[in-house]
Amino acid sequence: MADQNYFEDVAVGQKLPPLTIAPDKQQLVKFAAGSGDFNPLHFDENFPMLKPMGLSENIVHGRFKYAQVGRAVFAFAGYKGRVQRFGVSYRGMDPLNKEITVNGVVTAKRQEGGEHIVELDVWTENADGQKTTPGTAVVVLPSRE
């Protein structure tokens, strides 16, 4: 866990430390175990639904990428912060064993009802720089005041 971020120390335009992962099949099977999503789309190369969906190989769970975005947002909030909301849409598929990087940037800071709120753009991108999972997050940070 990185050091705690405080509201005053965060600037609009500031980037989140990138988080890179290249999930293999075992990782996705562990994710199936953790999430309860046992769709063979993510682990069975002979799954009959691959072809009708235009896929030639297994793909990473969208919710796995969401959870990776969640890791980055959670790390930004720290144990003393609180994530109010975060959401993504799944715009591109990622195959197994390929690098996926979670990025984020602070887009706004505001105070509301005594809370110190930071807004972020967050996304995963593939090795070609395509944003496969774009989204936003709202985080409450502690204040130094």
């Binding site: 075992q26 175990a33 069975d44 190369e45």
Partner: protein, 143 residues
Amino acid sequence: MGEQVYFEDVREGEEIPQLKKNCSTQQLVLWAAGSGDFYQIHYDKDFAQRTGLKGLIVHGALKNAFLGQLLHDWVGEQGQIRRFGCSYRGMDEPDQDILCRGIVTKKRSEDGRHYVELDVWTENPDGKKTSPGTAIVTLPSRA
């Protein structure tokens, strides 16, 4: 679960009701989740083949657990599994029938408990016993 079986109703040499299984690749991943065994030979074909296997294989411990189900479903609410297990003698593949069977080998009463001993095993479509084992259960008595 069916009707309760009683100690008096069981004969040595009698076969207990069979349990038929057929593991999809999804079931093997479910088992990985249930057991915590994430070894890739059970869901990653390339990995399995790199280790010299023909393809994916069913977890031995899953077949063992199938025998646990075979016995649990047989002994009913009032019976108890005291001991069960098997050796792993042959590999089973996904999408093939695995037949779980058991035969009563011995009956005895001791210290007020009514024990039934069994040979149990899983068998592949060729009739080969891939996981032979034994079990001891207790059954209620009509007495």
